[in-house]
Symmetry: C2
Subunit: 404 residues, 2 copies
Amino acid sequence: MASINKNYLKLPGSYLFSTIARKVESYSKEHPDADIIRMGIGDVTQPIAPAIIKALHDAVDEMGSDDSFRGYAPDLGYEFLRNVIAEKDFKARGCDIDPSEIFVSDGAKSDCGNIQEIFDVNNKIAVCDPVYPVYVDSNVMAGRTGEYDEALGKFKDVIYMPCTEANGFAPELPTEVPDLIYLCFPNNPTGAVMKKARLQEWVDYANKNGSIILYDAAYESFISEDDVPHSIYECEGAKECAIEFRSFSKTAGFTGLRLGFTVVPKELKAGGEKLWPLWARRHGTKYNGAPYIVQRAGEAVYSDKGRSQIKQQIAIYMENAGIIVDGLKAAGYEVSGGVNAPYIWMKTKDNMSSWEFFDYLLNEAQIVGTPGSGFGPSGEGYFRLTAFGSRVNSHRAIERIKKL
Amino acid sequence: MASINKNYLKLPGSYLFSTIARKVESYSKEHPDADIIRMGIGDVTQPIAPAIIKALHDAVDEMGSDDSFRGYAPDLGYEFLRNVIAEKDFKARGCDIDPSEIFVSDGAKSDCGNIQEIFDVNNKIAVCDPVYPVYVDSNVMAGRTGEYDEALGKFKDVIYMPCTEANGFAPELPTEVPDLIYLCFPNNPTGAVMKKARLQEWVDYANKNGSIILYDAAYESFISEDDVPHSIYECEGAKECAIEFRSFSKTAGFTGLRLGFTVVPKELKAGGEKLWPLWARRHGTKYNGAPYIVQRAGEAVYSDKGRSQIKQQIAIYMENAGIIVDGLKAAGYEVSGGVNAPYIWMKTKDNMSSWEFFDYLLNEAQIVGTPGSGFGPSGEGYFRLTAFGSRVNSHRAIERIKKL
């Protein structure tokens, strides 16, 4: 008789953002006239830039014509895209990454969720606390985390690395050595960064211990300060210990277009076995490539026009971030983030729990944010706002919060 | 120290189609002027139909405009697409499938590869032999198949169900009861079908034994005969035992656009646990939806114009199939398939092995097909051709084969 993967039953409740969506939907039904400002899910609001729209139209025309139609894409992505990524995202920053080490996909979320498959089920993972839920949940499903401890809000076999005010929301090197280390900088949800010297310590630590760093750099284009690395491969020795994930979602507004990529260096090994062939095999077996038209859109992101249009969009979001940070501080809140990342991390009011504060903001100010506790126990008492809304809404949200 | 998922090392050689691609590339390099006719990978050649191209352009324009831009898609797909699928693919055929039971994805390959994750790692799978490699390989990666037996060409813990001339290339009900049964009809690679009465026996067998049928209906739009079911849900009781996969790839030329869907009935259970919430959780955790523009393209497939344009395309492919089947028979080959499926399944010449025949056809006639043995041991001595080429090439391929 067929039976289920019981690891799924260890997952506490439903996925964070689904829960938020349900709460907001139910509030909207009860208050149909409520003018809700959404600063919860990190979804962008500006339309796709004109240079990218043009590339999409051109590619659509190609697909409609006999002599330019394209069927299955190459397993690992089209060369036109992998070449420009290697050139502009890596070589331009002094990182020696070859196009063949770049795997184009439908987004960093898929890759971050799937990457664990190529590792042993007994490998122990370490995650920041708070953390983007996908890293943990995908490992729960795989049976790598042990049971959930309701009281602690933690899985038994996961190494949680607290990111707190005290350490500037960047974790200490763990004393118990993990096999797989998930790092995301600029960080979701806290907006914190790791300077290059600090990240180099992690690379050295991983190389010394034979750990693999799974580095999520989805927010690198929001970096505004100079000594913050855009890629882990800016650190010496990172090609021997790190896989990096990148996304077009926040950089270029691709949340609804779906495009990302993962870098697996050809020489990278775990326990003596190369990882590149495993990830290539996974890609070839369970995936069929990102749509041609979307890969052409990705290529346009790197064109001169595309770049300058996207830079403007990011500037708009980061101005929003400034408005929100300054406004919250003026309203008496403790706030961090919002400088090298589109996320603002704030302490709740009057020691409310994160979910209490969620309900409070939704009910009293019709503002949707994300409860910090949804990202892990050290997120309790915190709240995440995103800078992806409109200018008008960023101002209005701050006005509403100030009035509370 | 990190280590790899050693199940990957059980996979014999590389993925079938990657091997073919390498062989063809190497032949092309040695014979740069060779005029190769590709009938190997089941990739379509006709451009996307005009009604769908129009829908794509319209959706691209929406993405470029402030008031119509769309970010993250709903987890399970847009309602406009799920509604029309439920209506036209299922309700119109008397199948009681609700839009909420439809999960939109980037293709049937991904879903067929990923579905095994929600089942217990100790569940035993049964597959047709020959079989589309993704079903087996994804289970190898998960550790569900045991070791590969080189001599037999089989994994130890998999139930192989031979599909031979004797049973019309449709398997017998297995004597050892499997937990998970992969069926694909119309079949890839043999082009065989299962009539409704026969498929009903499988549904009854699964319900009696508590097995789950994973039914790949990617080729249903090529069915030309009346008593062949388009969906397993045409059988009584299938909602209690079956998950169905569908694809837009072959139906509407979406191999380069990427769109498919999976049906998981709300009431379907394995070992007493409902499967719908597990698949929904997997979707929400590891996937972020198909691109909005591609979902709009999928919707256009069901419009009156879209339908009639696609019907014409399918008719062209199936006329190719007829030309190939008749031509091969005239050349003295034993042939099946090609009536309800775009695949032609032929016996090799002079008892050559499948790979010998592959090399023979490539070297002597510059035709690329797929060795039957790549699909499993019972495929040895067979060869698959596809009808997805142009009319001209279908004729030319037959002329070349006749001349050999």
